[in-house]
Symmetry: C2
Subunit: 406 residues, 2 copies
């Protein structure tokens, strides 16, 4: 048996980020930048007003003989337009938030600190003294032309999208998303819409993995279920090698009838591992026709957990992410873990932040065939290998499944 860490390290060594593609800005959300983004302009591109108010010379805001100064209003500047004349001593212009500061003016006084006789008034009283630069946002205060604003490897979220738009990037150089073939195996597996017949169970793994692959940022292609025949398996693998990654479920354990292993071994270089973990001991990894293949166990719980531990990091590495592993935190396991295991046990649990600490509740029967143990789960509590017992109130490490990778 090998450890989870060793298996993951061996897998990730074989995975490289995919190639670069230019995508329209709105499609870049969730992807990873393939190059640094350098500002080609100052942002903001021009000095502009932070307030609705009046543009003036700072020294014109000084009281005259104890009286508020009166300035002549010579025009106005709306956002999006530029003044057609300068502000001179004794004069002022109305100005709106975001509008360029007119030439001559060195200060903005907000409208609340002024008094006029209506919107058409030609005069304004200045009720406060304002320093040079008041309410002016200088050009380049946010970003300077030539500055590296975003870096290769950064994930593009909504806020990065906003910055890329500001900098004038209608298409974005990104690492493209992997296309992932999802293949179920086993004569016992029927499709979701079929009525149950003796000995049969419905295909849940393919749908579960499809959603998990999509959530990881890849594009799933559900290929259905291969029958336990050489022909059926060969046909499915021929289809699967069109994609960037193949994920199978079932067929990788020690059973005599596991044709899958034979076909995998025949068509490529596949390692079959017994991993020191529960659920999910048997996992396969290798290449078929040059395409990486990850073979997960057939039990849905095992498939779900091994996908989180191995499949998701593979997809993230292909996407160009450098943060591949989920955060672990210390949690108080309020109910303890009743069953002991010699293998390391990933116990499904719900963790919440309460009174300044993380508290975990496990989800009952942790058998690898108990799908309901996957409900209301946001964490995997790790019970170390070697038959360690976790009693109620003990502290353990937990993998937070709905926090981002670190």
């Amino acid at each position: 048996m090998i450890s989870v860490e060793e298996a993951l390290a061996r897998i990730l060594t074989e995975i490289t980020p995919l190639n670069v593609r230019q995508v329209p800005l709105p499609e870049a959300s969730g992807l990873v930048l393939s190059q640094d983004i350098v500002a080609q302009e100052d942002i903001p591109p021009f000095a502009n007003s932070a307030m609705d108010g009046f543009a003036l010379l700072s020294r014109d805001s000084q009281p005259q003989h104890g009286q508020p100064p009166r300035l002549r209003i010579t025009g106005e500047v709306a956002a999006g337009y530029v003044a057609d004349h300068a502000v001179e001593k004794g004069t002022t212009m109305r100005i709106m938030t975001g509008a360029p500061v007119p030439p001559g003016a060195d200060s903005i006084i907000q409208v609340e600190l002024t008094r006029t006789e209506g919107p058409d008034s030609p005069w304004v009283e200045i009720l406060a003294t304002v320093p040079v630069g008041n309410n002016i946002r200088p050009a380049g205060e946010d970003m300077r032309s030539g500055q590296t604003v975003l870096r290769q490897g950064d994930e593009i979220g909504p806020w990065e999208i906003g910055i890329l738009a500001t900098l004038g990037w209608p298409t974005i150089p990104v690492i493209r998303s992997p296309h992932v073939a999802i293949l179920g195996t086993g004569d016992e597996v029927i499709d979701v819409a079929e009525p149950l017949r003796p000995g049969k169970i419905r295909n849940s793994n393919s749908y579960l993995l499809e959603a998990a692959v999509q959530r990881a940022g890849a594009i799933p292609h559900r290929l259905g279920v291969a029958h336990d025949t050489v022909e059926s398996l060969r046909e499915k693998f021929t289809e699967a090698v069109q994609y960037d990654l193949i994920i199978t479920s079932g067929g990788v354990s020690v059973g005599d009838f596991d044709l899958v292993k034979n076909i995998m071994a025949e068509q490529g270089q596949i390692n079959f591992w017994r991993i020191n973990m529960r659920p999910g001991k048997p996992v396969a990894f290798g290449h078929i026709s040059g395409i990486p293949l990850l073979g997960l166990p057939g039990n849905p719980v095992s498939a779900a957990v091994t996908f989180e531990l191995f499949g998701r990091p593979v997809i993230r590495k292909m996407l160009g992410h450098t943060r591949l592993i989920r955060q672990q935190v210390d949690v108080i396991v309020e109910d303890g873990v009743s069953d002991r295991a010699m293998r390391r046990h990933y116990v499904r649990a719900y963790v919440e932040w309460r009174d300044g600490r993380f508290v975990a509740h496990t989800t009952g029967n942790q058998g690898s065939h108990i799908m309901t143990s996957l409900l209301n789960v946001n964490a995997l509590v790790i019970v170390p290998e070697g038959g360690v017992q976790v009693h109620a109130g003990d502290t353990a490490k937990a993998i937070m499944l709905d926090w981002p990778e670190v």
Copy 2:
């Protein structure tokens, strides 16, 4: 001015979940169940083997005169098939993981605890005593026919998808996703592909909000930018009212030139609020032609933050979620917050878990026009209203932006 909490409460009162739709199982990921899901069958549907091994009568595993018993192999059961005869005293059948337990057998012994003379051997030696029920997963151990497995209001993630597949649900009753119109305003705003001209800035809000709306689970429709004319605004609003929700940016502050407010007020019932927060004081909410409208400020930072605080909960409520608000935790603000504000300040920060506590670093200049303050952010540190100072090392509340809602 009203508080953030009061504004959000007033908004959410006016929002109801959208109607129910049947969607194919793979499209249900991320949506909310509109009804309870009751199992119509036992899961597993039949008693099956947890191991590859031999099905036998438990009492046949007792040693005979100190020797391991030998049992005659009468056949085999693969996963997906049913035995065509029963296991009787003195006999056994090979059985694979997941295969139905053949009639007569009350126990499974795993293959590692047996010895045969090759795969065609007609006899097997039983090397251990196994109790009744050994390695048998009873029918219904996971879910019972009639049991409510998932509940109305549950979010459907990959693991729930797996359970729905197992239970035979090819289409799922969900609350449908809202279609959200996204409308920019302002004569200063040009599109992302256009070269900058004097007084102009590029449209970043529409792209930022499009990505944020999508991440919140809704379907964005970017309508472009309305000019500051009555005709342009009316035309855009006529288009926008085809959708479930309208989100605008800009045009809701106190400025004289804010035609947007007038058109909104003319076409519907809109409240214009000054909210006790920074960034993002002016926010509008109401209805136009019966469609809810959320008017966000024009500064990209303000639009980004007010979307998180108001827009995302609105979309989540429309989607049928009951968890609408992000988790807050106590963080140590390692660098403090240099600028004081009388309004409550939502300071952009990066929070990490280090040595058993959350530590926050703020992202520099927190001006509402400083888009780079949105980079490498995963939290909003809350500085309470009233000019409270947060010194380096002080504790504050932080909203975790990439944790799920609670």
